[in-house]
Each structure stands twice: as C-alpha cells, then as structure tokens.
Subunit: 205 residues, 2 copies
DNA sequence: GTCTATATCCCGATAGAC
DNA sequence: GTCTATCGGGATATAGAC
C-alpha cells in the first residue's frame, strides 16, 4: 500500500466521519425539539440531505441514531467537566455544569431525556458505552455534591442522589421552553431564573 | 313520555357516563405511564374491555381521548383548590397544590404534559374548555403567588410566571420516577424531597 | 352501541441498480 | 455508499352486521 492510497483512505474516513457527525448533530437537534417518538428517520435524512437508505449504512436503526446522539452529549459534557478547575469549590463547578445543560437545552442541543418507560430507555441501558459514560458523569457529580454538602454549601439533609436527579432533570426542563414562548425574557435571563429556582428554590431567603 | 321511559333514559345515560369515565381514567393512567405518542388506542380499548370501534363512538379521535383526560385532571385540581381554606396563608395553599400534583403523579394519575412541540399541544390550545380551565387555574395560582411574594414567603425577585412554571413542570417531573426506581425511599419520602428541592432549592440554608 | 373485519396511511427497514 | 422504489408491520380510523 503506497502513501497515496493511505492518504486517500484517510480522506475517505474523514468524509465518513464528517457525515456521521452531521447526522448525529441533526438527530440531536430533532431529539431536543420533538423527542424520540416524534422524530422520524425520513426527517433526519431530509435535514441531513441524504437518502434514508444511506442513513442505514451508517447506523443500524433509529435507536442507534439516538444512542449516538446521547453519547455525543455525554462526551461534550465530560469535556466541559474536564476543563473545569479542579481546585474550584465543588458548588461552583456544579453550578457551571447545570448552567451548561440549560444553555445547551436553549440551543436545541440537548436531547430530551427518555421517559422512564420509553422504548428508548431499554436500548440505552443495554448499551455499555452509554452506561459507562453515565457512570463517569454520575460519579464525578456525586463527588462534588458530597463535597459541597460537607462544606455546608448544599443541603446536607437531602440524599445526594436526590440532588443529582434534580440536576439531571433540569437538563430537559420544559420550563425553559415555556418561558421562552412567552417572549418576555432573554435567554440569559431564563437561564438565570431556572438556576435560581434550582439552587435557591422559590421560597424567599 | 311516561316516567318509566324517563328513568330508562336516565339509566342509559348513567351507564354511558360511567363507561366514558372508565375510558378517561384508563387514558389518564396510560398517559401518565407512557405519554401520548407511546399510548395506542388498541391498548386503551383492551384495558377498558371494549372493542376499539366502540371507543370511537364515544371519542372522535385519539387526541380527543387525551383532551378528555386533561380536562378531567384540570377539574380534579379545581375541586381540590376549591376545598382549600381561603383564609390560609397563600404559601400553604400553594404547597398543598404542588404536593397534590406530586402525589397524583406517583399514583399514575397525572398525564405527562405535552412537550412544547408535541402534536397534542396544538389540539389542546385549540380546545376552548381546556384553555378556559387552564386560565382559571393559572389565575388562582398566580394570585396566591403574588400574595406569598408580598408576604415575604416567596422570592419577590422571581417573576410570578417563572414560579408558576416551576410548579407546573413539577407535575410531570421525571425525578420522582427515578427516585422510585432506585427503591431506596418510600413514596412519602420522595414527595417530601421534591417538595424540598422545589421550595427550598438544593442549597444549604 | 358493540362487535369483527378491514381500509388506509405512516414509518422503520431493505432490495437492488449504479 | 448513494440512490429510487418497495416491503412489512403497526397504528388510527371506519364499514357494516347485529
């Protein structure tokens, strides 16, 4: 195999990867906008600009598309967490992560989480890469939550898992979309308000 | 028309109403468990114990089924609010309403809210009864929210509409299902934890 | 009004040429 | 790998007998 052919193969692979990335991004947006059940494969193909049959050369099923989109978000989130200062207070890092998920949601870049009884959920929990990614995220956040509780920054009477789920659910909180629909507030204000209700609650202080 | 025939008609109407109530309750539970898209009309008919064609004699479409279920929940909620003491502090009544929605959700009696871009949403906003019911609820709760803010019980820096949406979204918060799946807590504890994160937030106080 | 049986459509997935 | 064309299953909705 001569150098030229190697370059050619690499180029092809780059094209392949770029196309798959375009597919996954489109899936991501559609999952954010409509959810898994309402998203159709024809729609994905049309928005990517390829034939549906071509999609199935890249991904074996509609579920596989969704898994790829979820994996992408998990990796993006891991990258974001990786870039956070390890020496910063745990609460600050947690706030940064939650804010990141809210902004991603407003950017239509956060797939709506599968309902506990969704058909997609079974596929996800059966996927080792997905579960491994979730585990890494969960462990990292749980460590920060415990640290923030010990430091007196987060409510120590709440189980850490309850706080984790509170953050997790925020990532697809439909309240942001409702606030945006009203048209009274800028995206930044919406994020601030939800950050406030999440961490401070609605009670006066 | 003699008395006997009147009784007979009334009896028939009662049977009709009872059957429709059974249908709507079943729809309610299925909407709570799986959501609108995943619910099938065949499923509804099977669980009610009648033929699918008979369903369509009562309700014109799958959307009509969902609308009836949503209307039922709105009326139940209105009844609950009606029975609350008018002289109680606004915050107490608001807490009672939110708790009611959480308990209804755990009882699989709270339809999962339509996503902002759901096909169901268009049907709902086009329905005058539904919109009127929502308006009544919204006005009542908004009044209490404003009163609680004025009394220094709820955060006055948050827009009342943001607080309202915070409560609204809690009615289908998937966090309850996740906590229940973990099996570590009783339903009552789960409700208490979500009440805490909702009103007090996750921060320490 | 209730049933069985069926029409009709949509969607996920595939066949096969290029 | 990409395309057009199509299959097969499942879901909503209806026809027509009783």
């Amino acid at each position: 195999m001569n150098p030229a052919s190697i370059v050619r193969v690499t180029f092809k692979q780059q094209m392949l990867q770029a196309r798959e990335e375009a597919i996954v991004k489109t899936v991501n947006r559609l999952l954010a906008e409509k959810g898994f059940e309402a998203m159709t494969v024809d729609e994905v193909a049309a928005q990517v600009g390829i034939a549906k049959a071509s999609l199935y050369k890249h991904f074996a099923s509609k579920e596989a598309l969704a898994v790829a989109a979820m994996l992408r978000v998990i990796r993006l989130m891991q990258d974001f967490i990786q870039a956070l200062p390890a020496e910063a207070p745990a609460l600050e890092n947690l706030r940064a992560v939650v804010r990141w998920t809210l902004e991603a949601q407003l950017a239509a870049d956060m797939p709506s989480l599968p309902n506990p009884n969704s058909s997609l959920r079974a596929t996800l929990v059966a996927n080792q890469d997905y579960m491994a990614g979730v585990r890494v995220l969960r462990d990292r956040l749980s460590t920060w939550i415990a640290a923030a509780q010990a430091a007196g920054a987060l409510n120590p009477t709440l189980p850490a898992i309850a706080i984790l789920y509170t953050f997790y659910v925020r990532a697809c909180d439909p309240g942001l979309a409702f606030l945006r629909m009203d048209g009274l507030y800028q995206d930044e204000q919406i994020v601030d308000m939800v950050m406030c209700t999440c961490f401070d609650g609605v009670n006066a202080r």
